[in-house]
C-alpha cells in the first residue's frame, strides 16, 4: 500500500491566481458546499493541493459576487442546512478562459524543460 503523502513533505500552496480555477473546476463535477470543496480538492490531488479556509471562503464569496457561481441554502442528506455553490453559465465560460490560460502556462513551462541542453550535444 503506497504511503499517503504527509502534508509536510509534498504539500503545495495554491499558486496565486489559480484558486479560482481550482474552485470552478471542482464545481464542474457538481454542486458542493465549502467543506465538500476542500475535501474534493484534497482528495483529487492526493492531498498535494492545500487550500485553507481563510482563502476558500473569501474566494467563494468573491466568485458569487462575480456571478460565476450561485449560492443557495439546501438541506444535506443528513438533514443539515448547508450553503451549496453551483457553477453558472458565465462561470463555465470563465473556467474555459482560466483553463486555457493555465494550459498555455503549462505548455510554456513544459517547452522550457523539453528544450535540448546544448552542452550535451
Amino acid at each position: 500500500m503506497p504511503r499517503k503523502p504527509r502534508p509536510s513533505d509534498s504539500r503545495i500552496e495554491v499558486l496565486q491566481g489559480t484558486l479560482d480555477l481550482i474552485i470552478l473546476q471542482a464545481l464542474r463535477w457538481g454542486p458542493a458546499h465549502g467543506y465538500r470543496l476542500l475535501q474534493l480538492i484534497r482528495s483529487t490531488t492526493d492531498g498535494v493541493l492545500q487550500v485553507d479556509t481563510g482563502s476558500l471562503y473569501p474566494a467563494l464569496h468573491r466568485l458569487a459576487r462575480q456571478r460565476w457561481v450561485s449560492a443557495a441554502w439546501e438541506t444535506s442528506e443528513n438533514g443539515q442546512r448547508v450553503r451549496v455553490y453551483r457553477l453558472t453559465p458565465s462561470g463555465t465560460r470563465q473556467l474555459a478562459i482560466e483553463r486555457s490560460r493555465w494550459e498555455q502556462l503549462g505548455r510554456a513551462i513544459a517547452g522550457m524543460f523539453a528544450a535540448p541542453v546544448k552542452e550535451d550535444a
Binding site: Y35, T53, G54, P58, R65
Partner: protein, 886 residues
C-alpha cells in the same frame, strides 16, 4: 438578505455548518467527541480571521463595514468620556469658527444677489483719473446719452440718495430715500409687493408727487395698513400719493433705502444737468451680451461721445470733460455683486484663511491626542490583531473614531457658529456688505459636514503613520519595555508640535499686524479734537424752510439754546461730517490762476458750509490768516477759509490769503481770509482732500444755495447720553416737527468709520488667541507624555545623583528645541504668507519687524511656560516609586 446582520449571520451559519460536517466526519472515523471537536477547529484555522477576510471581500458592503466600524468606535469612545470631551471641544472650536466665517463668505461673496439673473446687473459709475476720483456719480445728461446710444443694456436706471422726513405732524421719522430716473425696479427684476412702480409720466416736473414705500417703513410708520396704497402721506411736508409697497427686505446696495420716488426732470433740458454728478447707474445687460462686450462697446462710445453730443457752448473748454464722458473721464462698468462686496472680499478670505489655520492646529492637537490614545491601546490592538483583525481593520478603527469625534465636534461647532455669527453680525453688521443674506444654510452645513469628515480622516490617519511603521510584534516588544520605545513615533508627535507652533506663530503675527494697523489708524490725526463731542443731524423740510433766512434763523436759534444747556461749551453746525463724507464739490474758479484745455482743472473736493462757531467748537487751529468772525455777516464782503491741502495745491510756495475764488460759478467773488489745518474728510486711511469753508450766514446772497441738511456738533462736559433729553427738548421748542437723526458721540462716529479694521483686528486676535492656546496645550501634552514615558530613565538619573536642575534642563531643552523649531518655521512662513494680508494693513509693512520680533518672543515665552510644567513635574519623580512601579 442584504441587511448587514443577515449577511453576517449567513456567514456564521455557513462556517458553523462547515465545522459541524468536519466534526461528524471525524466522529464517523472513530474519534472521541472531544477530539473531533478540537481537531476540527484546529484544522479549520482561525475562525475570526476567516470571517474577517471574507467580510473584507464583500464589495458593496462598504457601508455596512463603515457602520460596523462606527458602532465599535462609538462604544470604545464611551469608555473614555474625558478624552472624547476634550477632543470634541477642540474640534467644535475649530469647525465652529470655520462654519461661522464660511457662512459670511457664502452670504456675502458666493451667494448670488437675490435678483433674477444677477450676473447681468452692472453698476455704472464714472472716473476722473486726473482728479483721483473713482466710483464717482455720473450726471443726468450722461445717463440720457448712454440710454440712447448703447446697445448692450436691456434696461438702465439711475438713482440718487437723499433723506426725507415722513409721517408729518407729531413725530416725523427721518429715513433714507432714493429718487430714480428710469425704472430701477424693472432693471433689478423686482416688482412692488402691493400696488405699482413708477411710470414715465411720474417723472414729469408737473406730475403729482408719488412714492413707493419699503415694507419696513410701511410696517413701522403706517402699521402695515393695506389701504395705504392710493392714499396720501406727508413726505418732507409735501402731500404725496403712495402708489406701491416693495417686498420685505428689499433694498439696493445695502443703503437702507426706505422711500422710493421718481426723479422729476424735463428731458428737453438735459444739458442743464450736465456737470452735476449725482446719479448712480444700474444696467441690466441683454441676455446675449457679456460684461466684456459691454465694455468694448463703452470704449467706442467714449471715443465718439464728445463729437456726437454737442457740449453746450456755455461750458468752458477745460470744464468739458466734466460734462461729457471722454476717454479721460470715463464711465466704468462693474459687476454689481463684485462692486458691492468690494474690499470686504479680500478681508473675508483672510479671515477664512486664519480660521483654516486654527482648524489645522486643532487637527494637529487631535492627532496628538489620538497618538497618545493609540499608545495606551497598544495591548488592546495586539490582542485584536492576534484574534485575527487585519491591520487594515485596525486602521479603519482609528479613522472611525476620529471621524466620530470630528462629526460630534462639527455638530457642537454649528451651535458655536450660530451663536458666534449672531454676535459677529450684531457687533459688526455695518462693516459687512450684504449682511442680511448671511445665514447658516444648507450649503454652509454641507461645508461643515465635508470639513468635519475631512478633518476626521486627516487627523485620524496620522496615528497610522506610526502603526504602519511598527509591526504588531514591534508593539509587543515596546509595550514590555517602554523606555526603549523608538524615537520614530516621537518624530511624528514632535513634527506635529512644531507644525502647530509654526501655524500659531503665523496666525498671531497676522493678528499682530492687524492690531498694529488698527492702532495706527486710531492714532491718525483727524485734524480736530474729537473727544467730548456730540453730534446729530437735522434736515429742514424744503416746504417749510424754503426761505434761506428761515434756515439761518433756525440754526441760530437752535445753537444759542443748546449753548445754554448746562455743561455745553460750544455748538456749531456743518454740512459734512468727517471722517467719511462723500466728495461734494468740483468746479471752483480761482481768479488769477491760468485755465486752458491742457491745464488740470481747478477741482475742489469739499465745500463745507459752517456756522461761525465751527473752528472753535471743533478746535481746528488756524494756520494762517483768521477764522470766521461775527463781522462776516450776510451783508458783509464774502469770505472763505481753505485748508492747508488746498493752499498747497493751488498756491504752492505762496500765500493763499487774499486770493479770490468763485465756488460753483457763483456770481459773488469770495476772498480767502484764512488757512486752517486739514481735517480727514474721506476716511482716516486716505489722504486729505482740498476743502473750502463757506460761512453759512453768507450763503443766501452770495451763493444762492443754503444747505438744508446740517450736522450739529456740541462740545460739552456732559456725556452724549446725558445731552439727549435737553437737546431734544430744545428742538421740540423750536420746531416740534424736526426729526433728529444720527444722535451719537463723535467717538462713535469714528468707531463706525473704523469698524472694519476693528472687526478684523478683533477676530484675528480671537483666532490668534485660540491658536496660541491650542499650540501651548499641544506642546504641554507632548512634553508631559514624554516625561511620563521617561519616568524610569529620569528616576535612574536621579538615583545616580543627577541634580534636579539637570533633569529640569533635560526636559526644558527638549521642549524648547521643539518650540524654537516651530517659532523659526512660523516666522519664515509668516514672511511668505503675510503679503496676502497686505490689503487690510494701514501704515504697517507686511513684514513689520516689531511685530515679528514681539510675536516671536511672546510665542517663545508661551512655549516656555508650556514646557516648565512638565519639566517641573519631572524633577519631582521619586526614583524609588518610579522604579518600583515599572
Amino acid at each position: 438578505m442584504n441587511r448587514p446582520h443577515d449577511r453576517d449571520d449567513e456567514l456564521d451559519a455557513e462556517l458553523a455548518s462547515h465545522l459541524e460536517m468536519a466534526k461528524r466526519d471525524r466522529l464517523a472515523a472513530g474519534e472521541s467527541a472531544d477530539d473531533a471537536k478540537h481537531n476540527s477547529r484546529r484544522e479549520f484555522g482561525n475562525l475570526a480571521h476567516v470571517k474577517e477576510v471574507t467580510r473584507d471581500g464583500w464589495a458593496g458592503a462598504t457601508w455596512e463595514r463603515i457602520m460596523q466600524d462606527l458602532r465599535f468606535a462609538f462604544r470604545s469612545l464611551r469608555r473614555v468620556p474625558l478624552f472624547a470631551a476634550v477632543a470634541i471641544a477642540t474640534m467644535a472650536l475649530g469647525i465652529g469658527a470655520n462654519t461661522a466665517i464660511f457662512s459670511v463668505i457664502d452670504g456675502v461673496v458666493l451667494r448670488p444677489l437675490p435678483y433674477p439673473h444677477p450676473e447681468r446687473l452692472i453698476y455704472i459709475t464714472s472716473r476722473f483719473p486726473a482728479m483721483n476720483l473713482d466710483h464717482f456719480p455720473i450726471d443726468l445728461g450722461e445717463y440720457l446719452d448712454l440710454s440712447e446710444r448703447n446697445h448692450s443694456f436691456a434696461s438702465l436706471s439711475a438713482y440718487t440718495l437723499g433723506a426725507v422726513n415722513v409721517g408729518g405732524t407729531a413725530h416725523p421719522t427721518r429715513v433714507v430715500s432714493a429718487a430714480m430716473v428710469g425704472d430701477l425696479f424693472h432693471a433689478l427684476g423686482v416688482a412692488p409687493a402691493i400696488g405699482r412702480g413708477f411710470t414715465e409720466a411720474d417723472s414729469h416736473p408737473q406730475a403729482p408727487p408719488v412714492a413707493v414705500l419699503s415694507y419696513e417703513v410701511w410696517q413701522s410708520v403706517y402699521g402695515g395698513d393695506r389701504g395705504l396704497v392710493g392714499h396720501s402721506i406727508d413726505i418732507d411736508g409735501v402731500t404725496t400719493t403712495v402708489v406701491g409697497i416693495m417686498p420685505k427686505a428689499f433694498d439696493f446696495r445695502d443703503q437702507g433705502i426706505r422711500i422710493w420716488q421718481p426723479f422729476t426732470y424735463d428731458p428737453a433740458q438735459r444739458d442743464q444737468f450736465r456737470g452735476g454728478h449725482f446719479l448712480y447707474l444700474l444696467g441690466r445687460l441683454k441676455p446675449t451680451v457679456t460684461l466684456a462686450t459691454a465694455r468694448v462697446e463703452l470704449q467706442s462710445l467714449l471715443a465718439r461721445w464728445a463729437a456726437d453730443d454737442g457740449v453746450p457752448a456755455t461750458v468752458a473748454p477745460n470744464q468739458r470733460r466734466l460734462h461729457t464722458p471722454t476717454p479721460q473721464h470715463a464711465l466704468r462698468y462693474d459687476d454689481l455683486q463684485a462692486d458691492m462686496v468690494g474690499s470686504a472680499g479680500p478681508a473675508l478670505w483672510i479671515l477664512q484663511g486664519a480660521v483654516g489655520l486654527v482648524l489645522l492646529i486643532a487637527c494637529a492637537n487631535m492627532a496628538n491626542l489620538l497618538l497618545v490614545r493609540a499608545e495606551s491601546r497598544r495591548k488592546e490592538l495586539m490582542v485584536r490583531a492576534a484574534l485575527g483583525a487585519g491591520r487594515w481593520r485596525l486602521v479603519r478603527q482609528f479613522v472611525a473614531e476620529s471621524v466620530i469625534l470630528s462629526l460630534a465636534g462639527g455638530l457642537v461647532g454649528v451651535v458655536v457658529a450660530q451663536w458666534g455669527l449672531h454676535a459677529l453680525l450684531a457687533a459688526n453688521g455695518g462693516s459687512i456688505p450684504r449682511a442680511t443674506s448671511v445665514h447658516i444654510n444648507l450649503a454652509v452645513l454641507g461645508f461643515t459636514v465635508v470639513l468635519a469628515v475631512g478633518t476626521g480622516l486627516v487627523f485620524g490617519s496620522v496615528p497610522l503613520l506610526q502603526v504602519r511603521r511598527e509591526s504588531v510584534s514591534g508593539a509587543l516588544r515596546n509595550s514590555e519595555s517602554r523606555t526603549t520605545a523608538g524615537t520614530a513615533r516621537h518624530r511624528v508627535r514632535n513634527a506635529l508640535v512644531v507644525a502647530e507652533m509654526a501655524l500659531a506663530v503665523m496666525l498671531v503675527i497676522g493678528a499682530g499686524l492687524a492690531i498694529r494697523s488698527f492702532w495706527k489708524l486710531m492714532q491718525v490725526d483727524s485734524g480736530f479734537d474729537r473727544s467730548n463731542l456730540t453730534t446729530f443731524n437735522l434736515v429742514l423740510p424744503a416746504q417749510q424752510y424754503a426761505d434761506s433766512n428761515r434756515r439761518i434763523a433756525l440754526f441760530e436759534s437752535v445753537i444759542s439754546r443748546i449753548k445754554a444747556i448746562p455743561g455745553v461749551k460750544d455748538v456749531a453746525a456743518m454740512s459734512g461730517l468727517p471722517p467719511q463724507r462723500p466728495i461734494n464739490a468740483n468746479d471752483t474758479k480761482f481768479i488769477g490762476l491760468p485755465t486752458g484745455p491742457n491745464i488740470p482743472m481747478q477741482n475742489v473736493d469739499y465745500w463745507q458750509f459752517v456756522t461761525p462757531g465751527y473752528l472753535g467748537t471743533m478746535k481746528i487751529p488756524v494756520v494762517q490768516g483768521r477764522g470766521f468772525e461775527p463781522g462776516d455777516g450776510p451783508m458783509q464782503p464774502p469770505v472763505v477759509l481753505v485748508n492747508e491741502a488746498l493752499a498747497k495745491r493751488f498756491f504752492p510756495g505762496q500765500s493763499a490769503i487774499g486770493r479770490q475764488v468763485q465756488p460753483g460759478g457763483s456770481p459773488a467773488v469770495f476772498t480767502i481770509v484764512g488757512v486752517v489745518k486739514d481735517v480727514k474728510q474721506q476716511g482716516l486711511d486716505a489722504s486729505v482732500g482740498t476743502e473750502l469753508y463757506i460761512d453759512y450766514d453768507q450763503t443766501p446772497l452770495d451763493m444762492g444755495f443754503t444747505p438744508r441738511n446740517m450736522n450739529l456738533v456740541v462740545r460739552s462736559t456732559q456725556s452724549t447720553a446725558a445731552l439727549a433729553a435737553p437737546i431734544r427738548s430744545v428742538l421740540a421748542d423750536v420746531d416740534p416737527e424736526l426729526p433728529i437723526s444720527s444722535f451719537r458721540s463723535m467717538d462713535d462716529v469714528f468707531a463706525a468709520a473704523t469698524s472694519r479694521p476693528h472687526f478684523l483686528a478683533q477676530l484675528l486676535s480671537g483666532f490668534g488667541a485660540i491658536a496660541l492656546l491650542l499650540a501651548a496645550i499641544g506642546t504641554y501634552g507632548v512634553l508631559s507624555y514624554s516625561v511620563s514615558e521617561r519616568r524610569r530613565e529620569l528616576a535612574i538619573r536621579m538615583a545616580l545623583g543627577a541634580a534636579k536642575s539637570g533633569v529640569l534642563s533635560i526636559v526644558l531643552r527638549r521642549g524648547m528645541t521643539l518650540a524654537a523649531a516651530g517659532v523659526g518655521a512660523g516666522l519664515v512662513g509668516a514672511l511668505i504668507v503675510t503679503r496676502l494680508v497686505r490689503a487690510i494693513l494701514f501704515d504697517v509693512s507686511a513684514t513689520d519687524t516689531v511685530t515679528f520680533v514681539v510675536v516671536g518672543l511672546f510665542m517663545a515665552a508661551v512655549a516656555l511656560v508650556a514646557c516648565l510644567i512638565p519639566a517641573w513635574n519631572a524633577t519631582r519623580v521619586d526614583p524609588i516609586t518610579a522604579l518600583r512601579t515599572e
